[in-house]
Each structure stands twice: as C-alpha cells, then as structure tokens.
Symmetry: C2
Subunit: 276 residues, 2 copies
C-alpha cells in the first residue's frame, strides 16, 4: 500500500485549480481522495463534479460545509436548516458520507456562548436524522478559540463531543483538525473519547504559522512550516481506532498565489515527509 | 465607596500618555490604581515613577511583565532568569506586590509544548522564593491560544494553575484576563479553584472584537465594544473570593491614535457602564 493511500487533498488547499485540474493533478500524483467545498462545486455543477470524481476513481472524503446554526431569529434559523439539508443532499450526490459543520458564531450583540451552543444542539437534533437517512454523517468541527465570536462557538473537542454525544454516532460526530486543536493539552484524551464512540468522522491537517494575517482566516501553514507535530497527532487518532482519510486543508494566500499544480505536488511531498 | 474604588487602568491602555499625564488623568477622574509596564517606567526613570505615583496616592496594581522562560539555550535561560529577578526588584521599588508573567512561546524549531511548560515550572521554582523575599507575587497569565506558538505556551487557566500550584500561593498565582479566557467554558470552575487557593493575583479586562488585526496583538477592544460579559466575569472572580483591583488593559491601535485623556475618560465611563 502506497504511503499516500489515506491522503486526501481538500480543494481549498489549491483553490486556484479548477475541479478538472484538481482531479487530473490528484490522478497524476497518486492522491486517492479529495475534500470538496460547496461553492466551487456549485460553480462547476454538482452533477458534473460528481460524475468527474466518480469516473476518475477519486474518493470524496468530506464536503465543506454546513453549519452556521446559532441564529436567534426564527426566519434566519429556518433558512440555515434548509441550507444544511441542501448541503446533506449535495454530499450524498457527491458520494461522500461526511458533511463538515462550522457551527456559527455569536449573533450580533449577543454575548451568550452557552445559549448559542444549545441552539446548535437543537439544530443537530433536526438535521441528524435527515443526514443519516441519506447516508451522510454530520462532523462538528471545533474551530480555534480565536474564531469563537464570529465563526464557531464550538472551540474545543470536548465541546464538540458534548454536542455530538447527544445523538447517535452515525448521525453526528466530530472533525479533528490539527490547526484548531494543536495547542490544547486536553485534546489527546478527547480524541480517545471520540474514537471510542466511533465519532471521528474527519481528520484534517494544517500547520500553525505566525504571524497571523489580518482576519486570521488565510494563514494556515503548509505542513512542516510551523509548530504542529503531525506524526504525533496522526498517532493519536490512529491509537483511537481511526482508519479513515487524512485530509490536508490549507487556507493560505501565499499558496493560492502560486501555481496550483506546484502547490499540489508540494503538499503531497510534505505529507509524506511530515505525516505519512 | 465610589464605583471606581477597585478600578485600575493599565498604562498600555493609554500608552500615548506620559507617566505624569497618566497620573494626573487618573487623579482627575478618580481612578485609584494603575498597572505599569517596565519599558515606559525605565524611560521615565524607575525611582522617579515610584515617587510620582506614591506622592499622588495611586496604587500600582501590577507590573508587566516578566516571563519568557521557555528557552532551551542555557545562556539564554540564564539571561531570562536575571531579567526576571530585575523585574521583581522593579516591582518592589514601584510598591506593587504583583509581577505579571507572560511565560514565553516555543523556541525556534521546537514543537514541544509540554517541554516548554516544564521549563517554565523549573524557572518558577527559582524565581518564586526570590520574589517572595521582596514581597512580590508572580502572576502567571494564561494567554489566548492564538499566542501559544510565539508568546505563551500557557493557554488556559487550568494550565496556569497546574504550574502555580507546585509552589506556595504567596510565591506564584495567576492573572485572570477576560480577553484571553472569555471563550473557555472550563474557566469558571478554574476561577473557583484559583480563588480557593488564594491564587488570583490579578484580574484584567479587555473586550474581544473582530476582525483581528495582523499579528493579533493590538486588537483588544474597549469595554462594551465586543463579546465579553464583564459583569459575569467579575461575578465569577468575586464569588471566588477576589477583592483586589480590576484592571483595564487594552492594546488597541485605534485607541492609541486618539487623544489619550479622552480615551482615559472613555475607559472610566465604559468601566462604570459594563463592569462597575
């Protein structure tokens, strides 16, 4: 078995590539899986994307993303639930069993993190059975605490599991992403907890590099450029029983400014060097 | 007793003010305490600063900052310990009993957070008795996890207390800063733990506002501009038995670009409105 057998490259890592270019590049380099995002898939066409990756024999490891489930306004909440059901349908069409959820930040003017997390739980209760009926699992992703206000009130794996465990594991689990969790000395025990419950629904890699850029969204480092010990984290999820894809998801303006095929090849090489 | 009786304004909040301007402004507005930083104190003169604040009747609630105790290189480590002893001496001269510690990030090339934290513990073992002999307490400040790589490997109150509790409480305690801890649902229980042990050596306020600026150092929000519920946090430390100063410490380029006296007055008003 190749050292790349479990590698997946999330398309945001090389968002300058079109979907056909991404597929062709993965085939050339021996990358067996891709993670996809809804917006570029919609631009290229949902059915066309599904056909292309299926005929290429690529696995779609995740669809990003559902979520944003913290609205207080009933109409906004209803729209979010509709949008998440659409995302589930898209995931099913693309042939992936995992929809990643970025849960949402605080509504404007609110300071109530606990209340926001409870609204996420309510939404998971509605969406979980719908997702499972289509063969899709929801993967709540804890995001780094620096996103707690404006993007995701779920900041730790403990919080994500406290939400997920209210529902069956084939409905709701978690995404373990090194970029968000690398600093947290309580994460290893929570990975064991997640694995024991069969709730590690996704595993993503990105390195932590500083200084952070304005807005802190597009500074995720190429593997090996930062502070994350990827072999240690891979060891933790595997010790917890995880045997699924290992997905590299970088958001990085410097990488996006370069030739996408070159970045894809570099990503494969760095994966082998640091996480393979 | 005035609603400002426990207010302290950290000088970084209005770093555009000279030390005499800061002192004069505090007297005019009825602010009874200031937090000071080593560099501006050194520029104005240590003895001159000590005399000025003493004659004005202002309390010096904290000196910022010691720390940076994670070096692997023995010579660098020895220099850091010397510098921290000097900071203790300066704190004693200024008449404050609290030296805030920013513990330090990962050494270049290192990915070993645990090892870095253990080196901090070793250093606290050397510095604690020295500080106590001069009537100064070390206050380990957990910094937001976004600083874990380059500034402070101590990211949570749990970690700070795990370090502090290896030593007597009159040597080592913690600083509770809302900016760093506001997102953490485990912090309330840790505040109770810290209070029970007599280890809340400092309590600082800043609001969380987004988007974060490049480098994420100078975006701490004025009280009331962001996501932090200050009355709730003040309630937590007081329920834990804390009766000390409540210090407003903002690092914010927009505030620094304004008239310092105006910002000082605004800070006092916001304190009364949101945290008094």
């Amino acid at each position: 078995m190749s050292g790349l057998a479990r590698l997946s490259v999330n398309q945001m890592t090389v968002k300058q590539l079109s979907i056909p270019e991404l597929v062709e590049g993965c085939l050339e380099l021996g990358v067996p899986g891709v993670g996809l995002w809804r917006e570029p898939v919609r631009s290229y066409g949902l059915e066309a994307t599904a056909r292309l990756v299926r005929e290429a024999g690529l696995a779609v490891t995740t669809l990003c993303r559902g979520g944003f489930l913290t609205a207080l306004d009933p109409a906004e909440r209803a729209r979010a639930l509709d949008d998440n059901r659409a995302a589930v349908d898209e995931a099913a069409t693309l042939g992936t069993d995992t929809l990643v959820l970025v849960s949402g930040g605080l509504p404007p003017g609110s300071k109530d993190l606990h209340g926001a997390r409870e609204r996420i739980a309510d939404a998971l209760g509605e969406l979980g059975p719908y997702a499972a009926s289509r063969g899709v699992r929801l993967a709540v992703e804890p995001l780094h605490p620096m996103y707690a206000a404006d993007r995701c009130v779920v900041s730790t794996l403990t919080q994500a599991l406290d939400l997920a465990e209210r529902f069956p594991a084939d409905q709701v689990g978690v995404t373990v992403d090194t970029y968000h969790l690398w600093w947290d000395d309580t994460a290893p025990a929570q990975i064991a907890r997640a694995g024991a419950g069969g709730r590690i629904h996704g595993f993503q890699l990105a390195d932590w590099v500083t200084p952070l850029p304005e807005g802190v969204l597009v500074g995720r480092g190429q593997l090996g450029d930062g502070s994350v010990d990827f072999r240690a984290w891979r060891g933790l999820v595997e010790a917890a029983g995880y045997t699924g894809p290992v997905e590299v998801e970088l958001f990085n303006e410097k990488l996006w400014a370069r030739d996408g095929r070159e970045v894809l090849a570099e990503t494969v090489a760095r994966f082998s060097e640091h996480a393979g």
